[in-house]
Every structure is written in C-alpha cells, then in structure tokens.
Subunit: 206 residues, 2 copies
C-alpha cells in the first residue's frame, strides 16, 4: 500500500503536470490523495513550495530512468531516439494531449518567481541531458557534441510538446523526432554508423 | 496616450508571460494598468478568460510581425533564422531570463483546461508557422518541407526557451539555433544556396 506521503506526491505530480503549479491548490492535492490537509504540512513543512520541489525532483528521476529504459534495449542510439519521440507521440494521443513533460509547465511558471523551484527544474533538465549525453558518448560521439545533441533532443521534445498540446496534433512531435533522429545519425562516427546498420557516407536526410 | 483597454491588455500580457495565467490575479493586472477593477469587466465581459484569449491573440500578432521584421531585412533565410535565435538569446540575457515566448506558459497551463484559451494558443502557433513557412517557400522549398521546417523552428525555439529559462543559460537557445540554421540551409534548393552565398554541394554541418 502506498503511504500518505507518496500519495500526496503522486497527486501533486498529476495536477502540476496537467494544470500547472499556480492553478493547483493544496486542498485539491490532498483531497485527491485521500489525505487530511494537516498531513501535507506534516510531510512537507515548507508547504506547497517544498511539495513542488519534491514533485519536480521525483518526476525528474522517474523520467531519467525512462531514458535508460528506452535507450538500453534499443539496437542502436538512432533507433533509441526515434523510439523516444514515437513513445511521446503515442502517450500524447492516449492521454488526449494531457501527459507530456511532467515539469515543463512548472518550469515556465516558476522560472522568474521561485528560486528553489527553478533550481529543482534546472537540476532535472541537467540530469536528463547527462543521461542522454552518456548514451551518445558511449557510441563514440565527442563529449562536447554529445552534450549538444542531448540538449538539442530534450529541447526539441519540450518545444514539440508545447505545440502538440496546443494544436492537439502529434505532427510537431513527429517532425521534431525526425530532426533529432537525423541529427544523432549524422553525429555518429563511421564505426557507430556501421554498428547502427546505416550505410556510411550517405548524407543524413533531415 | 494609451487607452485603458490597451493598458489592461499590456499589463495582462506582461504578467501572463512572466508568471503564467493561473498565477496572475485580475486585481494585479488592473492595479499595474492603473485602472479600476470594473473597467476590466467593462472591456472584457467574459472576465479573465476573455482577457486571456485577447492577450494571447494580441501577443501572437505582435510576434508574427516580428518574424517578418527579422526575415525581411536579412540577406537570406539562413541568416534570418540565425538572427532569429540570436535575438532570442540576447533578449533572454537582457531580461534576466524572464522574456521568452509570450504564450508558452499559458499554452501549457490551459491545454487541458480551457478550450477557448487552448484554441487561441493553437491559432497563434499556426500563424507563426504559416509566417515562417511562407519565407521558406519563397526561396524554393516545397510547401510540405517549408511547413515542417517552420514547425521545427518554432518547436526548437520553444523548447530551448524552457531549458534556457530553467538553467539560466543561453546555451540551449544557441544549440537549437545552430540546429535550425543547419536544417534550413540543407533544405535549400541549389539556386537558393547560391543566393544565400553558401557554397553548393558542401554538406551542412550540424
């Protein structure tokens, strides 16, 4: 059975992701978690802001794991990146364009208003970038280029989510996915391209 | 002198952009506009949601113009795209990472909660995509590819804004800008590449 603290974190995460931080009241969070309001302040003495920071870090860790779960079983990094965007497009459709990035809405809301929450979102983005960059380095891409590709992949997905949710279409996620896939493919050293089953020397189509 | 209605729209736009829609109260908006609360309901009988929709469309129109103001004087589309991202990076730095996209925060907040506001954000994104796609078609890129490039450019910028604001760094915007610039360059037909002063046949570096 899930403990009260976890249920409050899950409930907060769901609301923040779907309707943002400012638009979610603490009463709404505890009600959905089936917990008394006092328990929120018991587990999170800093109130909503502390809960927000913990929700951000927790969602960040879950999605960091997800990067591994997508990359590790894939036959090569190019396929992994393609699967990553395809999975995101599927989730969008299945959830009626509600479930995209768990922290993007909060990240934009708090960037100029709450240093503790902004720092939490920055740490999460850095952790995702590091996780993806590690996969790119592992196939022989230079440290600098691997970080650039990782930042580019995360940014492309985040921006595509903004457009896809607004336009209720997976088109932006698919276009961003094709671009990210091509970028990673063209960054692979020759040996990596061979390993990934791609003909060497052919210019990457974007 | 700016009328009350315009001052309320400007004030709402500033707050929504920096702290989001849900986190902004109508009292805060009219106070900053130097207007009585009653005037908000006089000009916007639908209240905050109507104001929100008008702010979104107005910001959208201003930024659509901005695309033209950046693209039209540029010597070629590749330079225009580069200038577009460089200008965004400069604005971020100059405003302490507060001023990025005027509607992204609202777009994420309302996507699953308010159909009128979601539709307004979708219309704005479509108008930006159409504006950029028109520039790409004008240099000989096919209609389909021009739309893809435009979606890709807007998505890359939106996602880079999310990361740049959170991380307080222009690195994501610069990386997204380099990628978008390369994408547009490689989509140019041969004659367009010559016109843009780029050697033909050289593979685009990403």
């Amino acid at each position: 059975m899930t403990g009260t603290r976890d249920r409050i974190l899950n409930s907060g995460g769901e609301f923040f992701r779907r309707q943002g931080y400012a638009g979610t009241g603490v009463k709404q969070i505890v009600a959905a978690a089936g917990a008394p309001l006092a328990s929120l302040y018991h587990f999170f003495p800093g109130g909503k802001e502390q809960l927000g920071a913990e929700v951000i870090r927790r969602s960040g860790a879950i999605y960091q794991q997800l990067i591994g779960e997508i990359f590790d079983p894939a036959p090569d990094v190019v396929t992994a990146v393609r699967n990553f965007f395809n999975g995101a497009a599927e989730t969008l459709q299945q959830t009626d364009y509600a479930d995209a990035c768990p922290i993007a809405t909060i990240a934009l809301e708090v960037a100029s208003n709450s240093e503790p929450l902004r720092e939490a979102t920055a740490e999460v983005f850095e952790s995702w970038i590091a996780e993806a960059a590690q996969r790119f380095r592992a196939v022989g891409i230079s440290t600098r280029r691997a970080r650039e590709l990782a930042i580019y992949m995360v940014a492309a997905l985040e921006g595509a989510f903004v457009l896809s949710r607004a336009m209720r279409s997976t088109e932006p996620v698919k276009i961003a996915g094709a671009a990210a896939t091509a970028a990673v493919r063209s960054a692979l050293p020759e040996s990596g391209r061979q390993r990934s089953g791609l003909r060497t020397g052919s210019p990457a189509r974007r």
